[in-house]
Subunit: 299 residues, 2 copies
Amino acid sequence: MDNTHLPLISGIRHDNGALSDWYDKIILGDCLDVLRRMPSNMVDVIITSPPYADSRKHTYGGIDPDNYVQWFLPIAAELNRVLKPDGTFILNIKEKVVNGERHTYVIELILALRQQGWLWTEEFMWHKKNSPPGKWPNRFRDAWERCLQFNKQKKFRMYQDQVKVPMGEWAKSRLKNLSETDKRRDNSRVGSGFGKNVSNWVGRETVYPDNVLHLAPETGNKNHSAAFPLELPAWFIKLFTQEGDLVLDPFLGSGTSAAAARQLRRHYLGIEIKEDYHQLAVSNVEAIKVFPVQPRLFA
Amino acid sequence: MDNTHLPLISGIRHDNGALSDWYDKIILGDCLDVLRRMPSNMVDVIITSPPYADSRKHTYGGIDPDNYVQWFLPIAAELNRVLKPDGTFILNIKEKVVNGERHTYVIELILALRQQGWLWTEEFMWHKKNSPPGKWPNRFRDAWERCLQFNKQKKFRMYQDQVKVPMGEWAKSRLKNLSETDKRRDNSRVGSGFGKNVSNWVGRETVYPDNVLHLAPETGNKNHSAAFPLELPAWFIKLFTQEGDLVLDPFLGSGTSAAAARQLRRHYLGIEIKEDYHQLAVSNVEAIKVFPVQPRLFA
DNA sequence: GTTCCGCATGAATCGATAG
DNA sequence: ACTATCGATTCATGCGGAA
């Protein structure tokens, strides 16, 4: 595979060189080591889905739920350092069931991160429309995950207009179980808008979303499985960054965050410890076709 | 208003009399006092939405978020005592935003309840489909609340079949085609003595739900605002109790939990400290029309 | 080219059985 | 007794092949 246009760690100066040396890299290595070499206050948004406790034993060595907080805290400290003061950290995570109970490592992590200085600004909810099946005598299948938002300070950048949703789309994604009458009502509303003030309708074409995301997890459409669908990091990237900003994912996995960043013309920096995942990420990010940053006619 | 058929606290013996003395009552009083007079192990399910920190100041005197856990723990201890060993406690709650952050009293409460002996079995998510509009520079509108499930032991009663839902739209197209194949298969198998295919497909007209509830919050159809819509407690009541079981809500508010229990022919016990809410609850519960519990001919 | 249809698959969990 | 492994259970999506 030809990665020459995607320089890896070997091409990076370790003397706090130009920030752009860190742009658009997919680095093979332990994220704690790599993060410690990065300059401070350079990342605009961090979006990551760290290995779930014990669930990727063969991939990451498996983090014991009881040691999860202690394992994550040093990494979070570095994430805090490299993040810009007005940047945002999005943590996609969900506690697993241990011995019939939801384990508490996630909520303990929230408390620990606050003690570390992070502000727990918000908890978004990712509703997984097609969660894996399963039935147990004491439990239904799990259809949601947390997307925890942390910040370094109360004032942070947020471009809410970038994630406004057309009302039709919103209603569509609202839920598949919308009744036919709802759909008809929606259509009739569009039709009945004819006599109304056009500017009113234009103004109502898009609405702000809420803090619940309805996305289907990506299932084996390629020959890999992504932790989350491209739309998930894309949504947060649009919300918290502008074109040319830097998106960091310290647990890149198959590269979804970096792919989303590239597609949205943000710079990306991904770190992945497993070589096969790293290769997969490079390949997946390469596959993203982007227009040149200035797709205009020659002057 | 004629409440004679809904005896209140004054009609209850304080000597641990018959359990049925506590059935179908709506009690005006402080829930901690009332709970302490109740016999142990008598309640099948507890469903409640306690006063939100600081947000009902004029109603409940306002619980400071920083003291929320300490305020709730003694109540939770009594709830644990009165709950049957195989019963379930559902806590509908959502942390409010304080000083730009989600406050931590809810997740601290989870940890404290576990230390008290509760098992944190599951966290259901209530997605509020029509959440009230609102926009802030750093935050979207909040469209979900937690429904925390706690139990006294790993084995608890759960009637999953009672909350099955129709299959998704996707099944219709498939069901058509597969029904023909299924019939053919069934015919061939009838000859060989295996006749379970048809019944399998009949059973598959409904599927088990997941742990995300999609309900619209009750909008001001009365002149009050209900903490949750009737469907919310109804769902948990169907899931965790059978007809004739006892449903407890120690913070009854306008009576939604008791109304749902009555409608589903469960016994109810509601406690409410504010007199106007108490009256409202009595009125709302009275308004629920139910068939007699034993609509049979005289023996 | 479209549309339709069949099929594999996913960050799961429990209870029983085995060591 | 305590840990490790395995089978059973189940929904909705998107891909690929077929009509």
